[in-house]
Each structure stands twice: as C-alpha cells, then as structure tokens.
Assembly symmetry: C2
Homo-oligomer: 179 residues x 2
C-alpha cells in the first residue's frame, strides 16, 4: 500500500548485533551516554505520531521507570500482545494481524510509525516486509551473547543508505530505506 | 603479549550480520561492485604480511578462481585445518592451538596479520580474545538468512571506533580497535 506514513525501526545494537545482553541487560548503552547528546532521538520522535511496541518490551520500559507515552500522551501506542485487554486512553493492546494493523494505519493520514522493538516485533515486521526504513545506532562493543536484533528466516531485502553519522562516543548511526 | 603486529579481522557483512547467504552465496557483494573501487583492500593488504584463513574458506576462495596468495606469494598463509598436510611454499596447514600460533607470530617482527575468515575462524579468534582490530564493510542489504559473522557465546569486548567511511554504493566501512 502506498502511503506517506513510513514504518521505521529505530533501535540501538552492539556491533555484533545484539539489542540486549544476557538477561535483557541494557547496561552497554551507558558507554555512549553523554550530557546533552540524545543521538537525534527527540528530533526523530517529532516525525512520528504512532508507536508499535511488543508487550514484553513495553513492560520492561515501564519497569525501568521511563516516562513512556502513557494514556495522556499525544502519541498513539499499539502494544502487540497475545492477551486481550481494554485500551487505556491512547494505548491500545493489539492482538490481531500486523499487516492489517499497518494497512489500517497507513490508510489514514498521519506522521510516521515508530517500531520501538523488541526483537520479536521487529522480526515479525521484517518477516512481513512491513518496515520502510531502518535506523540502527551501532554501539562500539561486542556483547558476545544476548538478544539478537535480527533472527534467521526473514526475506531478503535490499537497502538504500540514506545517511551514516558518527558521534564522539563512537556510536555510528546508519539510516537505510528499504528498497 | 605486547607486539606491534596486530591481528585484524577485515570482512564484509550484510546489515543483518551475514557474511554469506544460504548455500554460502556471496552474490550480495555484487551490489557494491564499482569500477576502480576496492574499498581500501589493496591499501589494507600492504599493511599485512600474514594471512590466517579457515580451510573451508580457503577451498572456497580457490574454487572461485581468485589468485589467492599461493606458494609463490610473499605473504605467509596459515590455513587452519583439522587435517595435517605438508606446507606448500609459504602456505602452512596449521592444526595446532590458535593462541600459540598468534603468540608465535607476534614474537617475531613483521607486518599485521589478516584474519580472512570464515566465520568459524573469526569466532574462534574472538573467543580467545586474539583479535586486535576489526574492519567491517557493511553491505546495504538484509540477507534474512545465511552464515552469521558473529556466533553467540563469545566474551564481551569493548571497542574504540577508529573511523567510519561511507562509499557511493552505500557501503559503510567501520574500523574498530578492540579495547
């Protein structure tokens, strides 16, 4: 479906392709922490009005105390889950088909759609060729083990490099459009 | 062991971390082929005098008809294999311990040591913390499946970004020093 709304996977990963270490450890992200440096996150968030997130990742983000878009946010949040649950304000718990959800979102006007992980949702979306752009922030570390961003068994997809940005702490942000 | 000789993993991989597709297919490398553009390979090769390569990858390279450093080359080649076989000129078939080999090479003066793959050897070397630098040429494609560069179960290793170079065909070459 042609639409101006793009589905964007925007995520940080170690050079060896993990988005978390063993036991979901996100401690490696601290090596790129820098006062006043958000690696373009705020600017990116102004281009989206909808977030798609897996249930486990949503729970994790909330448990970490982040002020994640809640019922009072002006962002629509779709939490992908197996368990039906009533919506809370703008937070919808979605148990249906992902292609149907993306088609429905793209049929309406709006800003871009941010796929905020985790790996399970990212791979479901790539598996159904539903991702239009991917922004990976490569963290300068080999974690050696953990949760992989990309699982085996997805379709081949060519990419067009849009930009590559290098930051002081050694983070390289790669932005691709899925061809 | 302190030495001026560095062991360098220099390799191309898809954005999703594969160095070959299914059935060892290397066809994806053609998307970055460009007349007169070798992505720094010749310059890199002038900094090394020794190559470490897995037996399977060595067979593959030779079967593809590449003029791979043979007995008459001025490069020392160590083919890592389980099967003993007499040396052929500068090509040594090595069945021993990798740490011992690297220690021996580093104890002598010389240029850098190029780990030319495949994934099995790269992972053995990372597993024993024997890699000093890593250069990854990220090819703009998601292969979806294939031979992964990085396997699970390696030690965590911090990296220092040395450079990130973007090329016209969308290849991004990331150069890290292992901390």
């Amino acid at each position: 479906m042609s639409s101006d709304r793009k589905v964007i996977s925007y995520i940080a990963a170690s050079l060896d392709g993990y988005i978390a270490g063993k036991n979901d450890d996100l401690g490696f992200l601290s090596i790129v922490e820098q006062e006043g440096q958000d690696y373009g996150y705020k600017e990116f968030m102004q281009t989206v009005d909808t977030i798609i997130i897996g249930r486990k990742t949503h729970d994790k983000v909330i448990s970490m105390g982040f002020p994640y878009p809640g019922p009072d946010s002006d962002l629509d949040v779709y939490v992908i889950t197996h368990q039906e649950r009533p919506a809370e304000g703008r937070v919808t718990y979605y148990t249906g088909d992902l292609t149907a959800l993306i088609n429905e979102l793209k049929s309406k006007p709006g800003k871009n759609i941010f796929c905020d992980g985790g790996a399970e949702i990212v791979n479901l979306l790539f598996g159904q060729k539903l991702i239009d752009e991917i922004v990976i922030s490569v963290i300068p570390i080999l974690l050696g083990d953990g949760i992989r961003l990309f699982k085996d068994g997805r379709p081949e997809q060519k990419l067009v490099l849009q930009s590559s940005t290098t930051f002081e702490k050694g983070l390289v942000q790669l932005h691709y459009i899925v061809a």
